[in-house]
């Protein structure tokens, strides 16, 4: 059974577009959606409302940078600091091209940093690339590979 993809996104339009893009990439994985960083951490740690979910980590976390309550950087930091979660591939998926965000993400061990393209067709192909890379090609050691990315320092 394929591991699910965890999508953490608060903007409902971005969520819809991302889900459509994932759908068009024809991945078989389930997509679990969390709307903020706190929920995402609860899900990953199997705490709170997600205490009774089945064991196992997602194949990949597509993490928006700007999130209510606990932001993307903080989620990334928490995951990398948790021995049980550390190995999960995390892809930052964001509008921000700010160098400081990119640098901070890489310092914290993000696997890829994807600036969402404005044109929808490019967005779809970026999501498809990501999905195929992280969800289909199983789990490579974190940080050993990088996918198509923009805004790298």
């Amino acid at each position: 059974m394929l591991k699910p993809i965890l999508l953490v996104e608060d903007d409902k339009r971005d969520l819809e577009l991302t889900l459509i893009a994932l759908e068009r990439s024809q991945l078989a994985n389930d997509v679990v959606v969390m709307r903020d960083g706190e929920q995402a951490l609860d899900y990953l740690r199997r705490e709170g409302p997600h205490a009774d979910r089945a064991e196992g980590n997602p194949a990949v976390v597509l993490l928006d940078l700007k999130l209510p309550k606990v932001n993307g950087i903080e989620v990334l930091q928490a995951v990398r600091g948790d021995a049980a979660l550390r190995a999960i591939p995390i892809v930052m998926l964001t509008s921000s091209q700010e160098e400081a965000d990119v640098l901070r993400s890489y310092e914290l061990g993000v696997n890829a940093y994807v600036v969402k393209p404005v044109a929808f067709d490019q967005f779809v192909s970026a999501i498809a690339d990501l999905g195929i890379f992280w969800a289909v090609l199983n789990e490579p050691p974190p940080g050993s590979l990088k996918v198509s990315r923009r805004g790298e320092p």
Partner: protein, 747 residues
């Protein structure tokens, strides 16, 4: 000059072994003798017993004189105080004016033969009633001196009354005189300091009136009763009758003066000058009259002092006003010291100078008549080296130790900074002055006999003084010092303002960064949504939409994608100035090849006929930024030449004196050269938007990138015949040719 016919040879000087060189050592306070116009007793201050008396008296008469005195009064005398008048006494039918004073050891009582003289009645009253009001009305120093000379002449009847002042070197200058016919004029003459030895000047402070009734007198020695008392040990410095130096008497006779009197003008405890009276024949003044003369001297001293204080205050006030104006102008402007010479009249008026210079390290600004730049810099160096805040000299060449500098016989300088060489200098030209001496002052040299003789001639002797400027007044020195304080204040305030500005700038930059971030994140998202949903609509409903609706939607999508690109470009532009350059050597040939491949993927660039020179230079630059710049130029060329068949783009090296670069030429639509300056501005477009797509930031980015590398951009265009865009970056400091030369030298 008319020489007095009765000028006599210096007899005493020839008979005494005391030369002028020994004047300073002469025991003038304890001569052991008195002048003969009176007689004197030296008493024991405790029991009023007789210790010594002048030789023109016998012992019984001396003792009977003591009987007339009030012992209580004598015992109450305070040591070292001024003599006290004891009134008129009659002894053996003869009338005397008697005065007494205490020295440390003795009580000295003087009996002067009473005289009747001119203006003898109530002279003090006359001074108070008429002289004082006239002094108070007088405006300036010379007028005060003139009034005093006239009053003294009137009071004493001396043939010549002079008022003179000592300068800093101790030379006397005659300010005013009052003469009887037959007396030589000394007005404006100078008397050398050597005429009055230092210990004589001390006595002038102690004893304010000194009378020599007859220069031809025979001194009367003191006779001591007790053999153990040396009469030469009796301190006569306060005695009215004290015998004076034989050298001085010779001097008087040489001057043709047989009687003299001098009244000290003492200001603030310092001997400011003298009122000096001369008479061709012997002359005596009564004790009360001499008291009046002393009083006249005091009134004059007070008036001069108040005059000095007032005029100093007035001129200080005027100078302060000037200082304030200068400082106000400076603080209104950018406060650079250079601004001072922008207002030369005030700067020069402040010090009554003819020229001024502002030195700021190696920079120099001048106004008015000044020495050469090199001379000013050398002088500034020297002054700065003295380590003083204010320097003044009216005889610069003497102190600077160099040849006289034109326009700078005198200099006044202030140093603004302890750390930097920031000075302001004022210059005064040489004033060639002539000094008329009452006789050649250089005559005071040893004669053939090894002794120094008093001057035999008082004939005018004119000396020419060179290399000097007018002296700087205390008020002027004070004013520049005040200016210095104010300038330091301004400098400090400016430094604070700059620091504040830097803080403010930092804050604004932070805000701008936050703004950029917001734009990048929050503006891109809705653009993306618009583009995405339009695509979805077209995908899902495309078949059912009218041709027109599909066209509209295509426009919406294009607009949103364009907005996204614009946001990206703006962000890139703003980031360009923020990120640090990572400069290294870039192979531009390889870079251009790669960009040609990248651009050719789009179908419209595939038609381009590329002509790329084989010798494109290696440039020192940040590779990523350089690529953005070159890509922009190449994409521009592709864009504006796409209507040509075939579009032709040439890339060639540029090698100039100021550096190396490349140039991209196309055969496209070109532009009008009058707009060339607008090309590189943000959002400057020369073509309608629908004609050629683009954000209008591309060339602005190129310019900013090139300029951050210290380089320059340029453009040439001709409408309908294409355009040429190029840039040049400076060569690295370590030129390879230079390296090899250095290597040779080291080897």
């Amino acid at each position: 000059m008319h020489v007095d016919p009765r000028l006599r040879p210096p007899r005493l000087a020839e008979t005494t072994p005391t030369g002028l060189a020994d004047c300073a050592a002469e025991p003038i306070r304890t001569p052991g003798a008195i002048q003969p116009h009176g007689w004197l007793l030296v008493l024991d201050p405790m029991d009023c017993g007789l210790l010594a008396f002048s030789d023109n008296q016998d012992q019984p008469r001396a003792r009977s004189a003591i009987g007339l005195l009030d012992p209580q009064r004598l015992r109450s005398l305070v040591p070292d105080a001024l003599p006290v008048g004891l009134g008129a006494l009659v002894l053996d039918g003869e009338r005397f004016d008697v005065s007494a004073h205490r020295t440390r050891q003795h009580c000295v009582v003087e009996f002067e033969y009473a005289t009747d003289g001119p203006g003898d009645d109530a002279p003090l009253y006359r001074l108070t009633r008429s002289f004082l009001p006239r002094l108070q009305r007088a405006g300036e120093l010379n007028e005060l001196a003139r009034l005093a000379a006239a009053e003294m002449k009137c009071l004493t009847g001396f043939g010549r009354c002079l008022v003179y002042r000592f300068d800093a070197a101790g030379h006397g200058e005659v300010l005013a005189e009052e003469l009887d016919p037959g007396y030589d004029s000394y007005l404006g003459h100078h008397f050398p300091a050597a005429d009055i030895p230092p210990q004589a000047r001390e006595l002038y402070l102690l004893n304010r009136v000194r009378l020599i009734a007859d220069a031809d007198y025979t001194p009367v020695p003191l006779a001591a009763l007790a053999p153990e008392l040396a009469t030469e040990a009796v301190d006569l410095s306060q005695a009215q009758l004290r015998s004076v130096s034989p050298v001085h008497l010779a001097y008087m006779r040489n001057m043709g003066t047989l009687a003299s009197m001098s009244v000290s003008i003492v200001i603030d405890g310092r001997l400011w000058g003298l009122i000096s009276c001369h008479h061709h024949t012997p002359r005596r003044l009564s004790l009360p009259l001499r008291r009046a003369c002393e009083h006249l001297g005091e009134l004059l001293a007070l008036s001069i002092q108040s005059n000095e204080v007032t005029s100093s205050a007035r001129s200080s006030l005027a100078l302060r006003q000037l200082t304030l104006e200068l400082v106000a102008q400076l603080s209104d402007s950018d406060a650079s010291l250079q601004q001072l010479v922008a207002h030369p009249s005030q700067l020069l008026r402040l010090t009554q100078s003819r020229g001024a210079a502002v030195v700021r390290d190696d920079q120099l600004w001048t106004t008015g008549e000044v020495p050469g730049d090199d001379q000013i810099q050398a002088l500034a160096n020297w002054v700065a080296g003295l380590g003083v805040t204010v320097y003044e000299s009216s005889a610069l060449a003497q102190h600077f130790g160099q040849a006289p500098i034109p326009h700078a016989a005198g200099v006044l300088a202030i140093s603004i900074s302890q750390v930097h060489r920031h000075l302001i200098l004022w210059f005064r030209p040489e004033i060639v002055t002539t000094v008329t001496w009452a006789g050649d002052p250089r005559k005071a040299e040893p004669g053939g006999d090894g002794h120094i003789h008093p001057r035999a001639s008082f004939a005018s002797w004119v000396e020419t003084v060179r290399g000097r400027s007018l002296p700087w007044s205390a008020e002027e020195v004070g004013a520049v010092n005040e200016l210095r304080q104010a300038l330091i204040g301004i400098v400090l305030r400016r430094a604070e303002e700059v620091a504040e500005m830097a803080t403010e700038l930092g804050r604004v930059n932070k805000e701008l960064e936050a703004f950029s971030y917001t734009v990048s994140h929050d503006l891109r998202a809705p653009m993306r949504h618009i583009a995405g949903y339009v695509d979805l609509v077209v995908d899902a409903e495309g078949g059912q939409l009218s041709e027109r609706a599909r066209k509209y939607l295509a426009n919406v999508k294009e607009a949103s994608v364009f907005s996204g690109k614009l946001v990206d470009a703006l962000l890139e532009f703003s980031r360009m100035s923020r990120s640090a350059l990572k400069v290294r050597s870039v192979n531009v040939g390889v870079m251009v090849e790669g960009l040609v491949r990248e651009l050719s993927r789009h179908e419209r660039a595939s038609q381009v006929e590329w002509q790329i020179a084989p010798d494109l230079p290696a440039l020192q630059a940040d590779p990523l930024l350089l690529q953005v710049a070159v890509r922009n130029l190449m994409a521009n060329a592709v864009k504006y030449s796409r209507t040509r068949t075939p579009p032709r783009i040439t890339i060639r090296p540029v090698r100039r004196a100021d550096g190396d670069g490349i140039e991209v030429e196309d055969n496209g639509v070109g532009f009008q050269m009058k707009y060339v300056d607008k090309l590189f501005g943000v959002f400057q477009r020369l073509h309608a938007a629908e004609e050629f797509e683009g954000t209008g930031i591309g060339l602005a980015n190129v310019k900013r990138i090139v300029e951050r590398h210290g380089g320059t951009v340029y453009a040439h265009g001709e409408v309908g015949h294409g355009a040429r865009f190029g840039f040049v970056l400076p060569r690295p400091a370590a030129d390879p040719h230079l390296d090899s030369r250095t290597g040779d030298l080291l080897a």
